[in-house]
């Protein structure tokens, strides 16, 4: 996906850029409203992540101008404010959603997915691998003429595997990405989800193999 991050704090922006690029997203960074307006005028983004307190003005002003230009690109506001005072105002101004700093990237991804899904999604986001067609927004997996809806953890697991076919993912890393940090889960919990995904993938020519002592790998049979 293509993101625009509007955030004046350089170290946070750098970290967010690194983190989103890790998952294969394309992301531009604007440090102020002026730059954000330049970027959004010249490129098409799937989503804008907008900080509210910016050096050359309030992010809400950008939001209002953005909506007045009738741009469809959804906006998720990054706010540091209290839950009580600010949130409703953001949505009134045309933000599609908001997330409080510091944020969990799984939550950010989930919110992005939900927002994009609400905006009608985009079939160009479909991923093909072997005989399977995967639509991460709708959370559907099609093999031949059979389409099923994946549960969230299955979907995210499949996304991880699809982002690096033939690569080996260790159990601990998969636990990190599938479970929240305050859940104490054993690494074996991953086996359940891999098992389910294997069942869904049967007949697609795609298989997940166990690499003894290292983890799992998805590849074409």
């Amino acid at each position: 996906m293509r993101f625009l991050l509007v955030e004046d704090n350089i170290s946070l922006a750098t970290a967010v850029l690194d983190r989103l690029r890790m998952d294969g997203h394309v992301i531009d960074h604007a440090a102020n409203i002026a730059a954000a307006e330049d970027f959004s005028a010249t490129a098409d983004y799937d989503l804008i992540l907008l900080d509210i307190m910016l050096p050359d003005g309030d992010g809400r002003a950008f939001l209002r101008a953005h909506r007045n230009r009738l741009v469809e690109t959804p906006v998720i506001v990054l706010t540091a404010r209290s839950e009580v005072s600010d949130r409703v105002g953001m949505l009134d101004l045309g933000a599609d959603d908001y997330i409080t700093k510091p944020f969990d990237f799984s939550e950010l991804e989930a919110r992005c997915r939900a927002v994009l899904r609400r905006h009608g999604g985009d079939s160009s986001n479909q991923k093909r691998f072997g005989d399977l067609i995967f639509n991460p927004l709708a959370g559907t997996l099609s093999v031949g003429d059979k389409t099923i809806t994946l549960r969230n953890k299955e979907l995210r697991l499949l996304e991880i595997f699809l982002s690096g076919p033939d690569r080996i993912y260790s159990k601990p890393k998969l636990v990190d990405r599938l479970f929240s940090y305050d859940e104490d889960v054993s690494e074996n919990a991953i086996e359940v989800y891999v098992g389910r995904l294997r069942k869904h993938l049967s007949g697609s020519g795609v298989e997940i193999t166990t690499v003894r002592g290292l983890g799992y790998r998805m590849s074409l049979a």
């Binding site: 704090n9 170290s11 946070l12 970290a15 967010v16 690194d18 983190r19 890790m22 307190m53 990054l78 540091a80 404010r81 209290s82 839950e83 009580v84 005072s85 600010d86 409703v88 959603d97 409080t100 700093k101 510091p102 944020f103 969990d104 990237f105 799984s106 939550e107 989930a110 919110r111 997915r113 939900a114 549960r151 969230n152 953890k153 260790s170 601990p172 890393k173 990190d176 929240s180 940090y181 305050d182 104490d184």
Partner: protein, 461 residues
């Protein structure tokens, strides 16, 4: 904040007392002045008739052949009878003899010169009398001789007349007092009215209305109103400043926390050694815990602030619940939790939507946080008699062996909370909000027995 103020009397009562007091004083004064004047006039009239009578007797005194003769004219005494039916006494005497009349009629203590008269009020035979004494010097046997004529009349008629007059004066005074009292009440009311109107205008204001008072007021109230306006101004500035300060503080604390958390997540993706990974996980948990605690403390402060000046608007509980569920759906999905909403009817309540949303959100947040993966949470609204209820039912094990009171204490957490990030303020906030709206928070075990059922019950709109 709403402690009753000490009163130092009432302005209206004081004004009224002063006005009525003055009226009473003036009425009394009026009574005495009128009475005194009437008495004087009566006295003077009586005196002049007495004098006329004495004069006419005096005129009838003559010296004939060195003999003093007195022929008292009928009119001299009958004119007194015209005034009242009081008894009349008279005496004609010289220095040595009583010529005619009542011998024992008292004599005046004043010295009277010839051609003049003196008036006295005396007692005669147990009655009060008014007496005139006239003197005239005649020549008798070539020697001067003083003829003294006293005419007296009892004063019962005059007393009756005075009693009548004083009754009239009393009525006049009372009438004056009554009219003055009515005017005083009216004056007190009308001079207090601008104060009342100002009070109403200020108390009718919404909790967020910090505009200066601009309605016209009487000039005496200008100093009060301008002090009030300066005070409102200072309050507005200080509120804005503290709101800005909180926002700025939150921004400054949370942005670096966000940086650290992101970096920790990135590093966690890169490192393989188990102990490093464990430390990083601990770090992320600590960050989440501190940011959540800071958030809830701020929320709690905001909630307390808003409760103090509660907004009262109509809220559709079903709409509010549905919005909230939509908003939290992505977080529930992360754990493959089936988050359902069932709204039956549109129960309307009165209150602060932001507060109620925050309260329900805290309950729902808790439910998601403590629920196992792939469980179900059901949020529902319904109307029950005079109560509107929104409830959150989960399969997270419930609050075993703890009651609502204990759970809603600040910083208390359920027994299964260990290992989950929380500050223990969520239920406290929810309870405070519900109770501020005149409702109750009920924590029960869910029908299936596998979790908790938290209900927020509000009185209907």
């Amino acid at each position: 904040m709403n402690e009753p103020l000490q009163t130092s009397g009432s302005l209206r009562r004081r004004l009224m007392l002063q006005l009525v007091g003055s009226a009473a004083f003036l009425a009394t004064l009026l009574f005495f002045v009128v009475l005194g004047f009437a008495r004087d006039v009566a006295q003077q009239t009586h005196d002049s008739i007495l004098l006329a009578s004495a004069t006419s007797i005096m005129d009838s005194v003559s010296v004939q052949a060195d003999e003093i003769t007195v022929d008292i004219p009928y009119a001299a005494l009958s004119m007194l009878g015209n005034v009242s039916n009081d008894r009349v006494f008279y005496r004609v005497s010289t220095r040595d003899d009583v010529l005619t009349g009542y011998e024992n009629l008292p004599t005046t203590s004043q010295s009277v010169r010839s051609g003049h008269s003196a008036f006295d009020t005396l007692t005669y035979k147990g009655d009060s009398i008014r007496m005139v004494t006239s003197l005239r010097r005649l020549s008798l046997n070539s020697a001067p001789a003083d003829i003294i004529i006293s005419v007296a009349q009892t004063r019962e008629g005059q007393a009756a007349q005075l009693a009548q007059l004083s009754r009239s004066a009393m009525q006049l005074g009372l009438g004056f007092f009554l009219v003055a009292t009515i005017l005083a009440i009216w004056a007190a009311q009308s001079s207090i009215r601008p104060l009342k109107q100002l009070t109403e205008a200020v108390s009718r204001r919404g909790p967020k209305d910090l505009r200066p008072v601009q309605r016209p007021v009487p000039s005496e109230m200008i100093p009060l109103v301008s002090s009030l306006n300066r005070f409102i101004g200072r309050l507005r500035v200080s509120l804005t400043r503290s709101e800005d300060f909180i926002a700025e503080a939150a921004h400054r604390v949370r942005t670096p926390l966000a940086t650290v958390r992101t970096q920790a997540e990135i590093t966690l993706r890169r490192v393989d050694r188990a102990e490093n990974r464990a430390s990083l996980r601990e770090m992320i948990r600590a960050i989440d815990e501190s940011s959540r605690a800071a958030g809830q403390l701020l929320d709690h402060a905001m909630v307390t602030f808003r409760i103090d000046s509660l907004e009262r608007k109509a809220i559709d509980l079903t709409e509010l619940g549905r919005e909230l569920v939509d908003r939290l759906q992505p977080i529930a999905e992360l754990k493959d939790i089936d988050l359902h909403f069932f709204g039956s009817g549109n129960p309307k309540i009165t209150g602060d939507a932001i507060l109620i949303q925050n309260a329900v959100r805290n309950i729902l947040d808790n439910a998601i946080k403590y629920s196992p993966n792939e469980s179900a949470i059901q949020v529902s609204t319904r109307q029950n008699g005079n109560t509107a209820r929104i409830q959150v039912e989960d399969e997270a094990g419930g609050f075993v062996g703890m009651d609502t009171d204990a759970l809603t204490q600040r910083f208390t957490r359920g027994e299964n909370a260990a290992g989950t990030i929380g500050s223990g303020l969520g239920l406290t906030i929810a309870r405070e909000v519900v109770e501020a709206h005149g409702g109750v928070l009920i924590i029960e075990t869910s029908k299936t027995g596998t979790g908790a059922c938290v209900s927020l019950c509000f009185p209907l709109h």
